[in-house]
């Protein structure tokens, strides 16, 4: 055998060694495949199905908020938005930069996005932007193939009437904050587009409005895009309940229009049931801005407005009730047997208390005034005199019975209890004893006394009702509550109502207007008030009391009115405060008259009046 042959043999032998090695390698790979595909095949099949299928939470439609006549105030509309699934995206910054060619992503927004990405697990979709226009949405959909992990979605968002006259009642929705997330482990709250009620009715009945989540089995590809859906009837989301309000949206809107540019609050309340038909604070704001995310500019504008649009004045604003408080003083006197309605006081324009002089609004004086005339003409001197006799404690007691100095269970937050001061309060807060002068001021609703428009409406409603201590409510449900008895002497009440009638319906009354209601046979009763904002100094008084129109808006008097109608069969009570409305109580009186007229009209009064005319 030659060397060459030997070598050839050696080659074959060594080739066999290598070939054997190669077979062994295939054997190892085959064993590995057996291990993966047969031994653990079932596990991997499960993992593959986990990849393939996913359950998506379906956000239920939020229940609507509807007024007493069936008009939906808070509704849902289609909204187009854009989300990303962070774990499906390799370079988030790059994707965001790419997206910003389609939409405007600001600095604050991208910070929010980064924070959301950090806070959630990688598979939770993060909202980039909502409220996209259809054009933006369509453009994004076209560019999807270049944008893995980006998911455009259409869904529902909240919508409110644009003029905002219901904003203070309805409140608004928004993304749940950290506190809400901590307290509530409902997975719905973790959905990027889910909104919860933040304020107002939206917050109070949030759980009822929310509904129950549904789920949807979907096939998802590696980019997070849904390839196929497997809808199942029993997994559908259950929409939230609709919630009804006692509000009459037409009347509320009309009232807001009548307010115009003025600031203040107005209430119309059912005298029998306590249903609030109008609960308006002016000026107001567009709650839609809060849903879509308030810009700093919006916020600055609202904060800079001296009329404070965000402040719910009608339930949260404490104002000096001024002369509308005189009913409380008079009732306190009557009920305690300290006032004889026929007894007269001579008004000479001022009352002297030691060194201090208390002026009646009419500098020349009213002359002889009995109770009815004192209310009709709103004579201050009469009430100074009576206040000294009755004392602040009895006045406070009557105030409480009339609904002042307290809050009511109307659901929404932000009520102020107002203030019914007494000796104890003054000692606690001002470190000083109660003096007769304080009672003088209180008797004409000035000084320390504060009341909200809502409280004044309750007072008017109780005076009109006479039998029950009516309380207001806003959200329908639970039927008419059992009111406590008011427990006032009907004879005394008659005197009071008659005096309030004189204010509106008799010549010389501070709010007299012939045929004020406009309906045949329908009369109204009420009381004016002019809330003094700025103390009138002796020096100013010596020269001449400046006319209100000459003062800057902030120092002008509040225009106040409370009333009810019809006089002989009361249906509605109303109150109105026009902040710095000037010119006495006329502005507020006109407002209340208008509201009562419209409320009665919508209750069918016009028809009845027409019938009377026809006969």
């Amino acid at each position: 055998m030659s060397d060459r042959e030997k070598l050839n043999k050696e080659f074959s032998r060594r080739a066999l060694v290598l070939g054997g090695g190669g077979m062994t390698l295939f054997g190892i790979i085959g064993a590995r495949l057996h291990n993966l595909q047969v031994v653990h095949g079932q596990d991997y099949r499960t993992l593959s199905e986990n990849n393939q299928f996913n359950f998506q939470i379906i956000v239920p439609d939020r229940g609507r908020i509807i007024d007493r006549n069936g008009f939906a105030l808070a509704t849902n509309r289609m909204d187009y938005r854009l989300m990303i699934v962070p774990e499906r995206i390799e370079n988030i910054d790059l994707t965001l930069r790419h997206l910003s060619t389609f939409l405007d992503i600001g600095e604050r927004q991208s910070q929010r996005i980064q924070r959301d990405i950090k806070r959630n697990r990688g598979f939770v979709p993060v909202l980039i932007e909502d409220h996209l226009t259809w054009e933006q949405f369509a453009a994004l959909n076209l560019n999807l193939p270049d944008l893995p992990g980006v998911i455009p979605q259409s869904g529902q968002t909240r919508q409110y009437p644009p003029d905002g006259e219901f904003s203070h009642i309805l409140g608004y929705v928004g993304k749940p904050g950290p506190k809400a997330l901590e307290e509530d482990d409902n997975p719905l709250l973790r959905q990027p587009t889910f909104q919860i009620g933040k304020t107002g009715v939206e917050a109070v009945v949030d759980k009822r409005l929310r509904g129950e989540r549904g789920r949807l089995k979907v096939e998802v590809n590696a980019l997070g895009r849904i390839v196929r859906e497997f809808p199942n009837e029993s997994d559908a989301a259950r929409p939230g309940e609709d919630v009804y309000l006692t509000i009459d949206s037409k009347l509320q809107t009309q009232t807001a229009k009548a307010f115009g540019e003025e600031s203040g609050g107005a209430v119309v309340m059912d005298v029998q049931t306590g249903e609030l038909r109008v609960l308006l604070s002016m000026p107001t704001f567009d709650a839609n801005l809060f849903v879509s995310g308030l810009t700093q500019a919006d916020m600055d504008r609202m904060n800079a407005d001296e009329k404070r649009p965000q402040f719910n004045k009608v339930i949260g604003g404490g104002y000096p009730p001024a002369s509308t408080f005189k009913m409380v003083v008079a009732m306190a006197g009557l009920e305690n047997g300290l006032i004889n309605p026929n007894e007269s006081v001579f008004c000479k324009g001022k009352v002297q208390l030691g060194p201090r002089t208390f002026h009646c609004w009419k500098r020349r004086g009213h002359g002889r005034m009995d109770m009815r005339n004192a209310v009709k003409h709103s004579c201050d001197s009469y009430f100074y005199t009576m206040a000294e006799r009755i004392g602040i404690d009895r006045i406070k007691q009557m105030g409480l019975r009339m609904g002042l100095g307290q809050t009511f269970d109307i659901g929404i937050e932000g009520q102020s209890p107002g203030l019914l001061p007494d000796d104890e309060w003054k000692r606690n807060h001002l470190n000083d004893a109660w003096r007769t002068g304080d009672s003088f001021n209180a008797s004409i609703g000035q000084g320390f006394v504060l009341a909200t428009p809502l409280q004044l409406a309750v007072m008017a409603a109780r005076l009109a009702n006479g039998k029950y201590a009516v309380t207001p409510h806003l959200i329908v449900g639970g039927g008419v509550p059992d009111f406590d008895l008011l427990k006032v002497n009907p004879e005394h009440l008659g005197h009071m109502q008659s005096a309030m009638y004189a204010v509106c319906e008799e010549p010389g009354g501070t709010a007299y207007r012939p045929n004020s209601m406009g309906f045949e046979g329908v009369k109204m009763a009420g009381k004016t008030g002019t809330g003094q904002v700025k103390g009138i100094s002796a020096a100013e008084r010596a020269v001449r009391v400046r006319r209100n129109e000459e003062l800057p808006w902030k120092f002008r008097d509040h225009s106040i009115f409370v009333g009810y109608a019809p006089f002989d069969n009361p249906r509605f009570a109303a109150s109105c405060i026009v902040e710095h409305g000037g010119s006495g109580a006329r502005k507020a009186a006109d407002m209340v008259r208008g509201m009562l007229r419209s409320a009665l009209a919508s209750d069918g009064y016009e028809t009845r009046a027409n019938l009377t005319e026809d006969m």
Partner: protein, 380 residues
């Protein structure tokens, strides 16, 4: 020497001499690739499958062309091809185009070429030529061993600098096998293995880039980076494992259809096979590769000269190493090094190089009776 007309007489005779079983198996494997690319692109014919088929047919034509060209020409080309490839690699080093952080491409205006791919064949040719010309008594002498090692080391170092770990491996390993098959003494091979056991840790420390080290670590401990590099291998295992014994059926692989396995048209195409055709499909595919290798090695054993034997064995070894490394990588037995599955993965260069290699094997077989002179090499 008596020659029969049917053996060397013209093109028809040469075509008759081709061992047609080998092209058939290669074509079948290539068609499996077309079908799998079609499935991985969710049934879009011109998203890869069509191109793959075109390349396959063009590559097979090239293979036949190489097969009928006189083998002595290829024999003579061994060193020139090696030197040219070496120059091209240096050219890459100097003028190369960077793609994905690796400088592998040379832009020659018409097209981009990857000299490292050509080098895989050239190194085999050069080594075969080296041992062919070497007097037998010198095989286990320093000239025989070190000469061969230098032929391997020069391109290997250049490719490693690009950096391309996969190709470096595919140059070194077949080279070492040729040294082994050339008949170097076992003693020397044994000491070489011991030397390697010492050198490998040093190489790990100094020869690898960070990302290459990271890949090895991710391979050893997949929990290190669940969404990054090992996402690849995890999804790959899910695809294979969920295929079970029989697979989910053609075009019914959910992992593939939903894009869970990245690169499943190229390096990870075996996941498509495993998911759709299961264990049986995987074994069937391995049988095809084994068949191809077996035919090549039978041809090699029948060769009468050293150059042919070593060249065929080297090319076969290169081809099979592609397969082993790729399968080990996809099944999670080896780190992800970026080696395609030859003939099946989408990609033009590899297909071309592999089919050119088979062309050389066929040419050696067709011209098995022609004499190749010894000792006329460039170096000796």
């Amino acid at each position: 020497m008596i020659t029969r007309r049917s053996e060397y007489g013209g093109l028809r005779g040469k075509l008759f001499e081709i061992d047609w079983l080998l092209p058939t198996l290669i074509f079948m494997t290539g068609l499996l690739g077309v079908a799998m690319i079609y499935a991985s692109t969710k049934g879009v014919w011109d998203a890869g499958a069509q191109q793959h088929l075109t390349r396959l047919i063009m590559g097979l034509s090239l293979m036949i062309l190489i097969a009928v060209i006189d083998f002595r020409f290829w024999f003579g080309m061994a060193y020139p091809a090696y030197l040219a490839s070496l120059l091209l690699l240096i050219g890459v080093e100097v003028f190369g185009v960077s793609v994905n952080g690796s400088q592998r491409w040379l832009d020659i205006y018409v097209t981009r070429i990857q000299p490292s791919e050509i080098m895989k064949l050239a190194v085999v040719l050069a080594l075969a030529r080296f041992y062919h010309d070497l007097p037998d008594w010198r095989i286990s002498k320093p000239t025989g061993v070190l000469g061969a090692l230098i032929i391997i080391a020069l391109p290997a170092l250049l490719v490693l600098r690009q950096p391309d770990l996969g190709t470096t491996l595919l140059i070194i390993a077949p080279g070492l096998m040729i040294i082994f098959l050339a008949g170097v003494r076992w003693r020397i091979i044994g000491s070489g293995l011991i030397a390697a056991a010492i050198a490998v840790p040093l190489f790990y420390k100094f020869g690898l880039k960070d990302y290459q080290r990271e890949r090895i670590w991710t391979f050893l401990d997949p929990s290190r980076d669940p969404s990054g590099a090992s996402y690849h291998i995890t999804q790959s295992k899910i695809a294979l494992g969920s295929g079970g014994v029989n697979g989910k059926g053609f075009m019914k692989g959910t992992q593939a259809n939903l894009d869970y396995v990245p690169e499943n048209r190229t390096d990870f195409i075996f996941t498509v096979i495993g998911e759709q055709f299961g264990l049986l499909g995987g074994i069937g595919m391995m049988a095809l590769y084994m068949g191809i290798a077996a035919i090549c090695m039978i041809i090699a054993a029948r060769m009468k000269n050293v150059f042919s034997k070593l060249m065929i064995a080297g090319i076969t070894a290169t081809f099979m190493l592609y397969v082993y490394i790729n399968l080990a990588m996809v099944t999670g037995l080896a780190p992800v090094v970026g080696v395609p599955l030859p003939l099946i993965s989408y990609g033009g260069t590899v297909m071309l190089v592999v089919l050119a290699g088979f062309g050389l094997i066929l040419s050696a077989h067709v011209h098995r009776n022609s004499d190749l002179p010894r000792g006329a090499g460039l170096l000796l």
